[in-house]
Symmetry: C2
Subunit: 358 residues, 2 copies
C-alpha cells in the first residue's frame, strides 16, 4: 500500500465515508493499476471494485491490484448497482473530476445516499512519490533527454518548428516512450513570446531564440523539460533575458527544502524577474507537480497552497515573454529530498551550451 | 454563421437564456475559433466573449472570430465578472463538461443567477458538418491513408506492434497531420480480442490477424479508420470471422439515409453478427460521430437516439472479439448525403486486399 492509499484510508475514516468514487483515470491507475481510458473505481473501506465495459474487461483483469472487476453496460447504472450492494450511505467523490451531469445522475439513482465532494482533500493524494514512481520519472527523463540530443541536428535555420518537434517525438517513442507528454512546443523568434506556442509550420531562422518544451510518458509517468536555444551568436538582449531567467530558476531551486511553502519558492523566482523590471512578462506560475498527470499537486505559484515534502516532484520553470520580440523559459524537474532537492533533469541550461551554430 | 450557431441562437431564445457558458474546447473552437487548450466562452444573445489567461492572449487575439478577448488571472472570477457586466440572469452551461466544482463555484460567485444545464440540447450542436468541415475530414483521411500505405512494409512478422504504430504515427505527422487522433491500436494475434488494444511490445507473428485502428487530426478535424490484416494465408476461421464482420459493416452502410434512426443502423450490423451466433462477441456500438472530437454526436448504438441527417459524419465499425483467439474490426467513416451516404475512407476492406505475405 502506498502513502496515497494510507492517506485515503485515513480520509475515509475521518470523513466517515463508506467509499469514494474515483472517475479520474490518473487516480484510478494510482489506486488499482488499470491503465485503460474508461471506467470507475469504488474505493470502499474494505472492498474495492473497478467497473468498466466489455471493451476493457480482459485488460482490467490482467492489471487490477487490490480491486475486483465488474462489468457494466450503462456506466451509472453499474456504479449504482454496486454502491447499493455495498450499502454505501456516504460516498465521497472527486469534485473537480465528476461532471455536473454524472453528479445529478448518481443523485437520482441513489436519492438516499449522501454525496460528499472531495477536492482539496484529495488534490495531493499522488503528490509524494514512492521510490518506484521516482524511478519511472527518471526513466522518462532519460528517454526524453537522449531523444533531444538526437533532434539537435534538426534545430537549425531553415527547418520548420513542426518538423523538428515531430522528429523529437518520433525519437522519444523509438527510444521506448509511450507518448509525448503533451504537444511539443517549438516556438522560435517572435513565437517564443507564446508560452504555449505549439510547433508550427514556421521555419526557424538564424539568430532566433527557440523555446523547446518537451517530455515523454514512460509506464504512465511523465517528464517535462524546457530548453531555450539560440541559433547563432546571442545578441545583448538575448543574453540578458536568458541570464535573468536562469538566475530566477536558480534562486527557486536553491530555496527548495522540506517545509518551505510553494509560494516562497514561486516568490524566489518571481522577485529576480520583477526586480529587473520584467515582472509583467512572467505571467504563469513557477511550477507544477508531475507524475501520472503532467500537471498535478503541488502548484508552485503565487496562489499555491501548502508546503513541500520529501518525495514531491515538480517543475521549476520561470520565463520571460516579450510580445513581438520572443521569450525564454527554462524548466527542470526537481525531487524534494530530506534536506533540499535533487534536480532530476540533466540537460545543461548554461547559455553557452545552448547556442547552436547550426 | 454555421448551422450549429443558428441552432444555438434559437436555443437561447427558446430556453429564455441570456447566455451559455462553454467550457469544452471543441465547442469553444467550433463557436469562436480558439484552438488553444484553456479558456471559456460566454455566448450571449448579442455579445460573445472568450476568456483566458495571459498564456493564450496573443494566440486568441489572432484566432477569435465573432468574440472579444478578455484576460483573467483566476478563471472563475473572470467569468463571473463578465457575466455580471452582461447582467446575465439565466445562464446555460454544458452539463456534461462542467465539473461539480466549477458549478458550485459559479453558484457561489453569482448566487442570484439561474444556472440551466444543457446536455441533450447541445450534444449534437456540431453533428451536421459544413462543407468546409467535411473537406478537413477528407484531408485528414487522405493523410492517414497515405501514411498507412507508407507503413505497410512494417506490418510483418517479427516487428513489434509499437514499432509499426509509432512509424505510422510519424508518417501521419510528416505528411502534415497535427497529431494522432488517439493512441494507435495495433493488436495482433490474441491481443486482437482487445477492442482497445494499444500497440504493445509484442512482436507480430506469421499467420496472425492484426487489427490496426488509426487516424489523424488535420486543422482540428479527425479521421478514424480500422483495417484488419492477416499476416499470411488466412485459415478457415479467420476467413469466416472477417467476412462476417465485413457483411455486417456492409449492411449498416447500405441502411444509411436521412431519416433512419441510429438504432436501426446499429441493428443492421448487429443482426448479421447475432444471426451467425457471435452477438455476445460484439460488445460495443456500431459507430460514433467524428469531427472536432474523435467521439461526438451521433451515437450509433442500441442506446443511441434520434435519426441521421445530411451532413453528419460517423464511423461504421462492427467487430467480433473472441478471447484467446483474436478479433476482427472494420471501420469506415461515412458522410450522410441527401439520399444515402458516401463512404469517405477509401482503403480497401476486401479480405483479399488485406492479406499481407510479409
Amino acid at each position: 500500500m502506498n502513502r496515497g492509499q494510507e492517506r485515503l484510508r485515513s480520509l475515509l475514516r475521518r470523513k466517515n465515508l463508506d467509499a469514494v468514487l474515483f472517475s479520474s483515470l490518473e487516480n484510478i491507475r494510482f489506486l488499482c493499476g488499470f491503465t485503460g481510458s474508461d471506467g470507475a473505481l469504488i474505493y470502499g473501506r474494505e472492498e474495492r471494485y473497478f467497473l468498466s465495459d466489455s471493451r476493457y474487461e480482459e485488460q482490467a483483469k490482467g492489471e487490477l491490484q487490490g480491486a475486483g472487476f465488474e462489468r457494466y453496460k450503462k456506466k451509472l447504472e453499474g456504479i449504482a448497482r454496486r454502491l447499493r450492494a455495498l450499502r454505501v450511505k456516504r460516498l465521497g467523490f472527486e469534485g473537480s473530476a465528476l461532471t455536473w451531469e454524472t453528479y445529478q445522475s448518481l443523485k437520482s439513482h441513489l436519492p438516499r445516499m449522501t454525496l460528499v465532494p472531495l477536492t482539496a482533500e484529495i488534490w495531493d493524494l499522488r503528490a509524494c512519490k514512492e521510490p518506484a514512481e521516482v524511478e519511472k520519472v527518471r526513466q522518462a527523463i532519460r528517454i526524453a533527454s537522449e531523444s533531444f540530443a538526437d533532434a539537435v541536428p534538426r534545430l537549425k535555420p531553415g527547418v520548420r518548428e513542426k518538423t523538428a518537434g515531430d522528429f523529437l517525438e518520433f525519437r522519444m517513442k523509438r527510444r521506448g516512450g509511450e507518448a509525448s507528454s503533451f504537444p511539443i512546443i517549438v516556438a522560435s523568434g517572435p513565437r517564443a513570446a507564446l508560452p504555449h506556442g505549439k510547433a508550427s509550420a514556421k521555419r526557424m531562422e538564424k539568430g532566433e531564440t527557440v523555446v523547446v518544451d518537451f517530455g515523454v510518458r514512460h509506464e504512465g509517468y511523465h517528464s517535462d523539460e524546457t530548453k531555450t536555444i539560440i541559433l547563432g551568436k546571442p545578441d545583448g538582449k538575448q543574453k540578458k533575458i536568458y541570464e535573468l531567467v536562469r538566475k530566477a530558476q536558480d534562486k527557486a531551486i536553491k530555496a527548495i527544502r522540506p517545509g518551505i511553502s510553494v509560494r516562497a519558492i514561486d516568490r524566489a523566482a518571481r522577485e529576480v524577474i520583477s526586480r529587473a523590471g520584467y515582472g509583467p512578462f512572467f505571467g504563469h506560475g513557477t511550477g507544477h507537480g508531475i507524475g501520472l498527470a503532467v500537471h498535478e499537486a503541488p502548484t508552485v505559484s503565487p496562489r499555491g497552497r501548502g508546503v513541500v515534502e520529501p518525495g514531491m516532484i515538480f517543475s521549476v520553470e520561470p520565463g520571460v515573454y516579450l510580445p513581438g520580440w520572443g521569450g525564454v523559459r527554462l524548466e527542470d524537474l526537481v525531487l524534494v529530498t530530506d534536506r533540499g532537492c535533487e534536480v532530476l533533469t540533466y540537460l545543461s541550461k548554461e547559455l553557452g551550451d545552448n547556442v547552436l551554430k547550426g
